[in-house]
Amino acid sequence: MLMKYSEIEPEEGSESLPENFIPDADTVLFANRVEKTYGNGTRALDEVRLRIQRGDFVSLLGPSGCGKSTLLKMYAGLESPSHGHLRWLGTDTPAKSGLKIAMVFQEATLMPWANVATNVRLPLDLAGVPRAEADARVAKALEPVGLGAYGKAYPRELSGGMQMRASIARALVTEPDVLLMDEPFGALDEFTRNKLDADLRALWAERAQKLTVVFVTHSIYEAVYLSSRVVMMAARPGRIVADVAIPEPVRDDHFRLSDSFADHCRDLSARLLSASGGDAAH
């Protein structure tokens, strides 16, 4: 008997998730009353409860210090909560769930001593994929990010935007079920960033219903443009303050200029303002 997410009522204490809880097959990632307190007493996350469904494009939007990156790292299995549970397809570790999770970091984090193709091949090499098959998959992954001709180039020979594209190709080469992105385009100029946002959205749309993306950003515009759902967080302590669907089906340059885009941005800005008590400057 499956228990639906809606049936789980928050209880006092951190053990609110019943032992027999099995999220439905569409709940890929699940965080239940997750808290993170650092040694110095900083509460990075406070009772965060977030369910992410298969095929969704969810943005975690918020100011610095709201714990959005911490939550992302928890979903990646790179950090564990001080209290509360995380579930991957109902299991308690990413490995048990069988989910393939890929991550793109704030910086491209490419190995400077290896060329682009070798960098992109890394996840396959680590998984022991035979060389010939791996090379074919690398070529297939470089094409859609526009780096088909740059396999032999070294990272330092590429612009920041191209390095980020290589990083995305490396994440997608394993055909992941979940793609976690931690402010991936934060260091890029606005034009490059808009282009990469559009390309990312297209890459996700191609894998419709299969690829789940969790995208951390502090840009309202980027969140509205990219996501089907924006989860807004606030700092001190890090918590979720709003969960907004962006139902627009078409995302292109026209969408950026449309009234509905502006409305969504305004709505989110207003929520951010009220959540931080009118003190949005922080």
């Binding site: 990646a76 991550m103 984090t109 190995m111 998984a127 330092r156």
Partner: protein
């Protein structure tokens, strides 16, 4: 290419890099030569550069044989230092307890002057070559350890997370991430250590004072000093300096061919 050809030769950075120090060297040697002649400095105090060159020519075979002995000590010590240093570094980064327990003693090795412990080692180790290699190794070891440890530690944390996320084994992380990250630091250690191995070898020879057919350059310098054969002393000195420079250049070249395709320090 045409642009370069049209430029005056001295504006070409590659030419300047070689020519400028050569001009300074020639200038200093000329001043030295002129002052020696002008003030009639006796050869047993300061020989003229021409005297030194003449001595290098006449005493060349004997000095080169001595240089060979010193070089043998240097290379053996350098080799042992690299092997031991790298092994120690790998041990240190594998386990914090090992590092905490042993690192103070590595520092102890570094700060103890080799001149102070060389007499003991020469008494304890029967084979003179082994004793000298031991001393020179002690001098050359520390930079290899400390640089390699630093290198193995200075891994990009993002890449480390990426490896973790992809379920990399300890071995995969070591071979594919830690070792390549450590290489620039390791080569830095090699450069310092190669010079120190030579210094260690010469200092150890001084203390040991071993003569006979197995005598190194340090013994030649000591003998030349006793005999007030100052040109020969200078000639030996010149050989040691040239050897040091060559060793350093070799290590720099090794770093360049290994790293130039990716590391900033070796580009251009």
């Amino acid at each position: 290419m045409e642009n370069i050809a049209k430029k005056p030769l001295l504006q070409n950075p590659a030419v300047v890099k070689i020519v400028a120090p050569l001009i300074v060297g020639a200038l200093l040697l000329t001043i030295w030569q002129v002052l020696c002649i002008a003030w009639k400095v006796p050869i047993y105090l300061v020989p003229k550069p021409t005297d030194i060159i003449a001595t290098l020519w006449t005493d060349g075979p004997g000095l080169l044989r001595a240089l060979g002995v010193t070089l043998k000590i240097t290379f053996l010590a350098f080799f042992v230092a690299v092997v031991l240093g790298v092994v120690a570094a790998f041990l240190f980064v594998q386990n914090k307890l090992i590092e905490t327990s042993l690192f103070p003693y590595a520092i102890l090795l570094q700060v103890t002057p080799v001149v102070a412990i060389a007499p003991l080692i020469i008494i304890w180790v029967k084979n003179p070559t082994a004793a000298l290699v031991f001393c020179a190794t002690l001098v050359a070891l520390f930079p290899i350890i400390s640089n390699t440890v630093l290198g193995l530690r200075s891994v990009n944390p993002g890449l480390l997370n990426l490896f973790r996320l992809n379920g990399a084994t300890r071995w995969q992380t070591l071979v594919r991430l830690r070792i390549p990250s450590a290489l620039p630091y390791f080569f830095g250690g090699l450069r310092i250590s190669s010079g120190l191995a030579l210094i260690g070898a010469v200092v150890a020879e001084f203390v040991a004072g071993t003569g006979g057919t197995g005598a190194g350059l340090a013994y030649e310098i000591l003998q030349a000093g006793f005999q007030i054969n100052i040109p020969r002393l200078f000639a030996a000195l010149v050989l040691i300096s040239i050897t040091g420079v060559l060793l350093f250049s070799m290590m720099a070249w090794l770093a360049k061919i290994s790293l130039s395709h990716w590391h900033e320090s070796e580009m251009g």
